[in-house]
Amino acid sequence: MEKVLMKGNEAIAQAAIHGGCRYFFGYPITPQNEIPEYMSREMPKAGGVFLQAESEVAAINMVYGAAGAGARVMTSSSSPGIALKQEGISYIVGSEVPCVIVNISRGGPGLGGIQPAQSDYNQSTRGGGNGDYNMIVFAPANIQEAVDLTAEAFEIADFYRNPVMILGDGMIGQMMEPVVFHETPKRELEPKTWATTGTGGKRAPNIINSLHLDPANLEKHNLHLQQKYARMRAEETRYELYQADDAELVFVAYGTASRIVRNAIIQLRETGVKAGMIRPISVWPFPQAAFDQLGSQVRALMSVELSCGQMVDDVRIAAAGRWPVGFYGRSGGMIPAQHEIVDACRSMLEEVA
C-alpha cells in the first residue's frame, strides 16, 4: 500500500470513504473545512452523497435520518458546531442508530478562537445532550491513527448501533503526515433489519424512535443502553502505555498534547528523570485499566491538556486517591512548549518528594 502525505482533515475524510461511509452531511466551520470540501469532491466519485446542510442542527438530523435508513454516514464540525449537535446526538443514541461524528476542536468558550484546543473533552465524553448516554470517543494523536480509527469507527458504530466520535483538534486536522490506508478490521455485523427501507409489504413497519412516554419502558430502554456501555467499557477501551514500566511520574495526555509530552519524556529521561505516559486513545471509555496496572514505583500522575483541566477529572477518578494528581494545561489555542512540560514534571516530583 502506498504512503501518501495527507492533511489530517482530508485523511479523515478519505478514511471515512475507505471505511464504507457513503453519506456526509455537514456545515462549514474552521478548522475542519477540508473535511466537507474533500467530501464534496470525492464522495460523488465513490457513489455516495455529499450535502451541505443549512446548519449543524440540520446536519446532525440528516445524519439521524440517513442512519435510520441504514446508511453509513458521517458528519463533522468543530466546537460550537458540536454544541449545536448535542440534541441530535442524544436522539441518535436514544434511537440506537450508528453514525460517526468528527469534532476538530478549537479554543473556546463561545466563538473563542480557531487554534487547536482540547477544551471539548467534557463536551465529547459527557455529552451536553440530555439523558444518560455515552459514545465511544477516539482521540488520535497522529494522522495514521486518525485514519485507522475513523475507518474502524464505522464498524464499531454499526456493531453497537451507537455513534462514535473522532475527537481531533486544529493541529490534527491541519497538519500533514504520511499515511497508509490499511485494510479495516471487520466485525461480524448483523444485517440492519431494523432500518427504515420500506416494508415492501413484507414485514411490520420499522420505527426509529427515542420516545418512551411510559417511565417503566424508558427505564428499561436505559438499562439496555447501559448494558451496551458496559460492553463498550469492557471491549473498546484503548490506550497506549509509553515508558510507564519504571516511571515515577506518569503523564496522562491524549491527541496533540500527548505528542509534546512524548518529546518531553525523552528529554526528561535524558536527564535521568523517569517519566512515562498513559495515552488514552479512547477518551470514553476512559482507560481505567491502564492506571490499575501501574507499578508501585509511581509517585505522581499529571494530566497534560490543551485546556484548563477537563480530563484531569477522569484521571482523579481513575487514580482513586492512590497517587497525587497534577495538572498542566494551556488554553485558547496556545500549545505548551516541551520545556514547560519538563518543568512541570520536575516541580511535581519535588512537591511529592
Binding site: 450535502l51 440540520a58 438530523n61 435508513a69 427504515t196 427501507t197 420505527i207
Partner: protein, 252 residues
C-alpha cells in the same frame, strides 16, 4: 354490499390518542388512504414530528422515524438521500414546522428536496398545552398570550404556504382545510397531488392543512370547526400556491 367507506390499510388501526374531535385523525387517514391508493405503503418512510402527532409512528402502516422537534425535514432529507426511490414524507404541526423548524422547512424547499410535507396548522401548540404559535390568530388567547395575540408585540401570524411559494425548489404548495366533508375531499386531492409530485421527482411538495384544537382553543369540536371556517380561512386563504408547471415555465 359494496363498501363505500372503510378503514384504510394505510393505518395500523391502533386507536389515536388525540382528543375527541381533533382533526389530526382525519388528516392521518387522508395521508394513509393516498399512500394505500398509490400502492406506495410498502415503499414509504414517514417522519413524525414532536407535537400532538408525535405518536404518528404508531399509526401509519409504513416505516417511520420520530424526529427531533422541528427537524423532520432534515431527517426526511437524510432518509431521501439514502433512498431516492422511496416515498418520504414528514407530518408536522405549526409549532414544529413554522417556529423551531423554520430553517429546516425553508431549506428543504430551497433544495427542492423531493419529499412531501403534511403541515398541520392548528394555530397553537397543542401538545404542550396551548401556547401561542407563529400561526396563532390576532387576538387569539393562548396560555402564553393570555390577553390575546397582540401584533404590536409579536407580529402577525405567518402564512407559511405563501412564504414557501416564493422558493423555486417548492414544486407544489397548497393550503386546504378539513372542517367539512367537501373540504376533506379536496384536502385528499391535494395530498394526492403532492405525493404524485414526489413520484414524478418534481421536487419539494407541501400541503398545509388547517386543523383544529378543540382542547386548547377551549371549544367543543363542532365550534372549533366553525372557527376554522370563520376565523382561520379568511386569514389563511385556501388554494394552490405552486404547481410543478409554474416551476418549469420559470426556468424554461
Amino acid at each position: 354490499m359494496p363498501t363505500v367507506f372503510e378503514p384504510t390499510k394505510g393505518l395500523t388501526g391502533v386507536e389515536f390518542h388525540y382528543c375527541p374531535g381533533c382533526t389530526h385523525g382525519v388528516i392521518h387517514r387522508l395521508v394513509a388512504e393516498v399512500l394505500e391508493e398509490m400502492e406506495e405503503l410498502g415503499n414509504s418512510i414517514g417522519v413524525a414530528p414532536v407535537g400532538c402527532a408525535v405518536l404518528a409512528y404508531k399509526y401509519f402502516n409504513c416505516d417511520m422515524h420520530e424526529a427531533a422537534h422541528g427537524r423532520a425535514p432534515a431527517m426526511a432529507t437524510g432518509v431521501k438521500r439514502v433512498l431516492p426511490d422511496k416515498m418520504v414524507f414528514s407530518y408536522q404541526g405549526d409549532g414544529d414546522l413554522a417556529s423551531i423548524g423554520t430553517a429546516e422547512i425553508v431549506h428543504a424547499a430551497g433544495r427542492g428536496e423531493n419529499i412531501t410535507v403534511i403541515f398541520v396548522n392548528n394555530a397553537i401548540y397543542g401538545m404542550t398545552g396551548g401556547q401561542m404559535a407563529p400561526t396563532t390568530m390576532v387576538g387569539q388567547r393562548t396560555t402564553t398570550s393570555p390577553l390575546g395575540r397582540d401584533p404590536r408585540q409579536v407580529g402577525y401570524p405567518l402564512r407559511i404556504s405563501e412564504l414557501l411559494a416564493t422558493i423555486d425548489g417548492a414544486a407544489f404548495v397548497e393550503r386546504v382545510s378539513v372542517h367539512n366533508p367537501a373540504n376533506i375531499r379536496k384536502a385528499k386531492k391535494a395530498i394526492r397531488n403532492a405525493f404524485d409530485c414526489q413520484k414524478q421527482r418534481s421536487g419539494f411538495s407541501l400541503v398545509e392543512v388547517l386543523s383544529n384544537c378543540p382542547t386548547n382553543w377551549g371549544m367543543s369540536p363542532l365550534e372549533s370547526l366553525d372557527w376554522v371556517k370563520e376565523a382561520m380561512i379568511p386569514y389563511y386563504p385556501l388554494g394552490n400556491f405552486r404547481r410543478p408547471e409554474m416551476q418549469e415555465s420559470e426556468h424554461a
